[in-house]
Symmetry: C2
Subunit: 136 residues, 2 copies
Amino acid sequence: MAGYNTKQRSLILECLKENKDRHITAEDIYSFLSAKGEGVGMATIYRNLDKLLKEGCLRRYELSQGQSACYQYIDGEGDCREHFHLKCENCGKLIHLDCESLTKLSRHIEQEHSFIVNSSKTVLYGLCSDCADKDK
Amino acid sequence: MAGYNTKQRSLILECLKENKDRHITAEDIYSFLSAKGEGVGMATIYRNLDKLLKEGCLRRYELSQGQSACYQYIDGEGDCREHFHLKCENCGKLIHLDCESLTKLSRHIEQEHSFIVNSSKTVLYGLCSDCADKDK
DNA sequence: CTAGTTGCAAAGAGTTTGCATGGCG
DNA sequence: CGCCATGCAAACTCTTTGCAACTAG
């Protein structure tokens, strides 16, 4: 449970913090660090992401299968803790939805259906307004 | 666009129909047919599932990454069309949730956030009551 | 010093694809 | 007969693991 403070860990964490408003993949981190001239192995990135996940510093979004999982740094105050995400099936856009109706829904499901919704893993799929407009 | 009526396609479709109340994976279909003594190749199963998906006869649930996708036959009347699914992250149980609060939520998101939720692709993740009880 | 970390390459799981063979219509 | 479908194996993608070398504390 120790946990050393290695250069690689710092680099990865830094990269995550710089992108805390976005969702980035392990690959993104790899490219980002490579571009900086800091070669960090993929395995190391995955291992650190796992560790950070367990420490609760990150949230992980598993989007469609066959696609890389996305990670996002969790800011102290739990920025995105409570909200859900909408993902457009057409353009792939990811929308953060902070709305009390979702909080209400969670509470409802928990109370009436005895199921505790994990909002950080849940993604609502559908069509965003841009794509809906284009379609018609 | 033709589409021949092969033995394999029938077998796969039959298997899906027999399990229309469950969510089954490509692997499940493979085992199921093998058990029947009908050897159908994995590739064929995937190809047929893709085709059926495009034809709109199936719904596909992409659960966690690293895990097989689940498929479910869509009954004419759209049995599961309107409802959402809850998936327990612990035991993997899939719960069908037919509740008007979800329909309301969809409407809310569509009207207030201009996003059309696709309830057939969306899965709410969390902890089912059984697992929540065991944890504590 | 020594347990935790790294990096590489190899292993894995699930799914897709290339290609020759086989079967529907 | 022609085109679509099948099967096998190989390819692919993302992620995990084994192992020897390395490093933080």
